[in-house]
Symmetry: C2
Subunit: 138 residues, 2 copies
Amino acid sequence: MKTTEQLTDLFRERGLRVTLQRQMIFGLLQANDSHPTVESLYERAQAEMPTMSLKTVYQTVHDLEALGEVDVLDLGTGSLRVDPNVEDHHHHLVCSSCGRVRDLPVEFDGLRVPNRYRRDFTVDAVQVIFRGRCDDCA
Amino acid sequence: MKTTEQLTDLFRERGLRVTLQRQMIFGLLQANDSHPTVESLYERAQAEMPTMSLKTVYQTVHDLEALGEVDVLDLGTGSLRVDPNVEDHHHHLVCSSCGRVRDLPVEFDGLRVPNRYRRDFTVDAVQVIFRGRCDDCA
DNA sequence: TGCTTATCGACAATGATTGTTGGTAGCTTC
DNA sequence: GAAGCTACCAACAATCATTGTCGATAAGCA
C-alpha cells in the first residue's frame, strides 16, 4: 500500500476526508505483514486513541479496499484479515489453530482452470491457502 | 461419501443413532455436487419433513464431517458449504456474486510450500479457490 | 471565517452458527 | 417383545463478526 502521505492525498482526491482516526489506521497498516483482524487493529488504535470505534476501523479498511490499497481476506479463521501487501502477488500459509498467517511467494505460477471447466464462468483470480499448524500450537 | 446404508452402519458402530431426520440428510447429500449450504439442505429437508430443525442439519453435517464423510468448506461466500466428495481430491471455482461452486480436477499437482517458508509450520493441506463470475451473474 | 457534508461514536440490528433444555424415540439387553 | 438408558429432537435463546442508523462533530472548501 501507499505511504500515509500518499493515502492522504488519494483520499482527498476522491472526496474522502482524512481524519486523525484514519491516519492512525494508515500508520498501523504500513509494512504490516501480520494480517491483522479488524478487531486487533481496533485494539491497537484504541490504546492510543481511547475514543476510536470499531465501526470506524471497518469503514476505513473497506475504503482502503475500494481504492485497491489493501486486500480484505477471508482465510476461514472466523474473521477478516487485512493484507496491505497488494503489490506482490502471493499466497498464504494459515495455522488452523491460532489463525496465524504467513505470506508465501508465488513459485507455482500458471495455475489455470482447464478450458472445458471454464464454460459459463469468467475466472479472474486464484487464491491458494496452505493450512497447517504452527509450532506454538503443535 | 458412503451410501445411506453404509452410513447407517457406520453411525451405529460409533454409537450414534440413525433417525429419520439423519437418513433424509444422508439422502440429500448422495451424489450431490452442488455444494449446498446448511440452510439450503434444511429447506429441502423441511419441504418433506416440516418439523426438521436447522440445528439438526448442522449437527448431522458436523457428525458426517467428524467421520470424514463430507468436507465442510468455507469458500468465503458467507456460509459453510457441504461437499460430499471426499474421495477425489479437487479444487473449486466460485462465483463471487451468487456463490455457485464448481468442482475442478487437480491438474497442477505438487503444490508445495518452499522449504525455507515452512519453518515453524507443519503443513497438511492445500486449498485452491478460483474466483470469478458465472454467466448468470455477468 | 463560515458552510457543507463526510465522518465520528454510540447503539441497535443482522445473519450464520452454536449452546441449552425438557421431552421423545433409537438401540441394547434381557 | 418389553423396559431402560441415553442420544437425539425441536424450540428457543445466545453468541460472534459485521453492518445499519442517527444525531453531533469536524474536515475541507469557498
